[in-house]
Amino acid sequence: MREHAPVLMVVVPLFGAVLAALVRRPGPAFAVALACGFAVAALAIDLAVAVSAGGPISYRLGGWAPDVGIEYRVDALNVPILLLLGVTAAVATVYARRSVASELPVGRVAWFYALYLLCLTGLIGIALTNDAFNAFVFLEISSLATYAMIALGRDRRALVAAYQYLIIGTIGATFYVIGVGFLFLATGTLNLSLIAERLGEAEAARAVVTGLAFVLVGIAMKVALFPLHLWLPNAYAYAPSFATVFLGATATKVAVYLLFRYVFSVFGAAFVFEALPTGALLIALSLAAAFGASTVAIFQSDVKRLLAYSSVGQIGYATLGLALGNAAGLTGGLVHLLNHAMMKGAAFMAVGAVVFRLGTCRLEAFAGLGRAMPATMAALTVAGLGLIGVPGTAGFVSKWYLIKGALEAGMPWLALLIVASSILALLYVGRLVELIWLRPRPADAAPVAEAPLELLLPTLALAAATIWFGLDTRFTAGLAQAATVGLFGGAR
């Protein structure tokens, strides 16, 4: 049984989705989602333990050899992502019941959980599979489920947002699959490990370079890498709160993982960075994201949109770490995927709790909420401090490694730009914090109670994690470092 853990991680939520759709009623559908969330978390932990004890796990679907069949592969690089997905699924699903019930009509709740589980299936599949085309299939599963989830938002603008994302996401997927086609042409295989092996002979061939370009652009759209991020703010702002929590914590992270996988395990850093100006381009785009999107975030009047733009900026840090290409940079980029998931998860949960209580997440609605919802707002504040990168929070750990990476790469100016961009985060977080804690509630505002425990506990858990993993990084940075060592082929 245990050797089937890789495939179970995909199969459990997939069947859960079917089951949730079949039961049709909100209660049982939620129970299915919750059970799947915890099952996935348990499987992820089990896989992590197995990999750390016995090295990479290769699972052949149906027993077919990798060159003809599909191979799932668990190694140091995707273990952090699987843990991220599993733990988020468990913690976030606890949060889901009341939030979803308050934002969706009863008839659609079960559908929503089915979509959520499908999305989870897709994301886990992308992280697990070692097959280029299979990754495309999972990419599409997660994307299609995401479009529908966003469209279920109660604001009519959610439909436009979903449509926007549908167009951009489809273009991205098309780019990706064309790239995979080129790679298949050049190497005659879809297995990522085998592509990597055979590229050695085919390198510099025009087809490979073209394939690389298509694949990178395709993934960049899913990453929401600046300037391909336009779909994200609306999608996050108008989706149901729970969808925003889940997607904000996981979706772009999985895409970044795929970027890491292609750059380092498939094409190899030497080819991507030395044969092509990818490094310089990626650094420029990451900085543009960190500065551009964070600046836009300062001027948002809707807190979900504010946090969404912040996400675009923060993703820039992860891709920056990738572009740096040295050990500290990669560790910083990878650990930021985990750290940002906690911080943004906590932040979106807190905002979701405000939507639950007030029915809105307009900025002015937050005035004086520190008195009315102290615990929720404290969690939001901690998450905000993390986004700034205040020492003692997880965000600082990421920044520390990134700055170290920039200095070690001989780019002190880049280190300065990284810290300069944190000041933008200080501005957009400061604006929110000032409103929450220093302004009074409007005199005519209805009294507000603290968020219910079902919403509050997961929020506080993620906020506590933001602090815990800012002080004790053995686990998070340890995972990232193990992955980095794996990327360098054990060279360091």
Binding site: P391, V397, L471
Partner: protein, 485 residues
């Protein structure tokens, strides 16, 4: 008790105090008792640690290890000991004073005030005892964020605007300059630890040393070296006990403490003297000293005048550090104690005048010496110390700083100290003169509530006592300067 346990207690006592205060929010008397008990206990703990330091102990404690080889850790050394002693002693005085002031003025949100105050002390203790640059940075930032609610205590438009300036300057500077400086230092030196005699000698390019020093000095914007001083006058909107915390107990002291610590234990006096990497800072600090004093001359608002006076006095410490001679650095370290006890007296007096007479401007202080004799007597002692006249501790620290400037042969430094001493006298003595020589005006009033008066009397006498018995701060400053690897 053993050293590490005491170090842990130095953090736990203010942390527990913060919790206790929050717990007794509904019972003000009990709440204030918790604060006083916390302050007294912390003082006791600090004295015990100091006793250990004087007998040669240098206790250490590892709290966590966020990065491989870089721990969050505490380690006591004489300079930090001096800072911790000053902060924990003044916390007692400030707590007593706060009770009088906050109740006398019917301030709102008093629980939040005492909680944040205790957290600020927590951060100060961590900062003073930090073993390495990472720990220092963590507690430095915590001090900024914990004092932000205090600066914005009044919650009106002006306070919120001041809070923005406060956070923006302090946090931006620390992120932009201090953090890169720390990482650069760590990578170049191969360690983030503070070591007597420094860790950077010959490990960075000669042109890098002045730049790196600049990153440290401006990164620690709490030292208010111009042009990063604007947050300090802005923060004057806060209640007086907060001003006392900012100007005397912790915040600005944290800034100059970082500068001294970096000069002594990161660069090392010998290295700075040999390379002249701090020469440029002499000019910047001298400018800050004189310019701030000139600006102070023209402030009619008493607290603003005192605020610019602080900027000038901090400039002395930075100047002393920049001269990089043993005597000047010793004077600079001593000045942490001297300025602390003197400036807190002046702010206590300003707050007492506001509480009793609702006056905030220098021009309104005619004859106030006769209505508030204790307050103005203490104020006068503070003024003498600020100018650097005996029989107050300000004389001792200035003596060493001038001696250092002379022995370093820096005409600029000597001129700046002399000029600003004259300016200090010019902007402070007229206040005393007004208070005693002019006839009183306005409605009759007496002294402020007794806790406030008791606190300011104690710190006023403290300036004299420290002059008569300077052994503890002097020895600590001497040990800090003379420590060698």
């Amino acid at each position: 008790m053993s050293g590490p346990v005491l170090l842990l207690a130095a953090l736990l006592v203010p942390a527990t105090t913060a919790l206790g205060v929050a717990l007794f929010a509904a019972r003000p008397n009990l709440r204030e008792a918790v604060t006083l008990l916390g302050a007294a206990t912390l003082f006791l703990v600090t004295v015990l640690i100091a006793r250990d330091v004087f007998s040669g102990g240098r206790p250490e404690l590892v709290l966590a290890e966020p990065f491989p080889g870089v721990a969050l850790a505490l380690a006591v050394e004489p300079l930090g000991m001096l800072f911790a002693l000053v902060a924990s002693t003044l916390w007692i005085a400030n707590s007593v004073y706060s009770i009088g002031y906050m109740r006398g003025n019917d301030e709102k949100r008093q629980t939040g005030f005492y909680v944040c105050f205790a957290i600020a002390l927590f951060a100060t203790m961590g900062l003073a005892y930090s073993k390495n640059l990472l720990t220092l940075f963590l507690f430095y930032e915590l001090l900024t964020f914990s004092t932000y609610p205090l600066v914005t205590h009044k919650r009106d438009q002006k306070a919120i605007a001041a809070g923005r300036v406060y956070l923006l300057i302090l946090v931006s500077a620390s992120m932009l300059f201090l953090l890169p400086a720390i990482l650069l230092t760590g990578l170049a030196a191969g360690t983030f630890d503070f070591r007597p005699g420094g860790i950077l000698a010959d490990r960075i390019a000669p042109w890098m040393a002045p730049v790196l020093l600049g990153f440290f000095v401006f990164g620690a914007a709490k030292a208010a070296v111009m042009p990063l001083h604007r947050w300090l006058p802005a923060a004057m909107v806060a209640p007086t006990p907060v001003s006392a915390l900012l100007h005397a107990v912790a915040v600005v002291k944290a800034g100059v403490f970082v500068v001294l610590k970096v000069v002594l234990d990161v660069f090392g006096l010998d290295y700075l003297e040999a390379t002249g990497a701090a020469d440029w800072l002499v000019f910047v600090a001298a400018f800050t000293v004189v310019a701030a004093s000139v600006v102070a001359l023209f402030q009619d608002d008493l607290k603003r005048r005192l605020a610019y006076s602080t900027i000038g006095q901090l400039g002395y410490v930075v100047l002393a550090a920049a001269l990089a001679t043993p005597a000047s650095t010793l004077g600079g370290a001593l000045h942490i104690a001297a300025h602390g006890v003197s400036k807190i007296t002046l702010f206590f007096a300003a707050g007492a005048i506001y509480t009793a007479a609702h006056r905030t401007k220098v021009s309104q202080l005619d004859g106030i010496g006769r209505r508030m004799p204790v307050t103005m007597a203490a104020f006068t002692l503070g003024v003498l110390s600020m100018i650097g006249l005996p029989p107050t501790i300000g004389f001792a620290s200035k003596w060493f700083m001038i001696g250092g400037a002379v022995s370093a042969g820096s005409a600029v430094a000597v001129a700046a100290i002399v000029a600003s001493t004259v300016l200090n006298a010019l902007y402070l003595l007229p206040i005393v003169w007004r208070a005693y020589a002019r006839p009183a005006t306005g409605p009759e009033h007496g002294e402020a509530p007794w806790p406030a008066v008791a606190a300011l009397a104690a710190t006023g006498i403290g300036t004299v006592l420290l002059f008569l018995f300077p052994a503890v701060p002097y020895e600590l400053a001497r040990m800090a300067v003379e420590a060698r690897p």
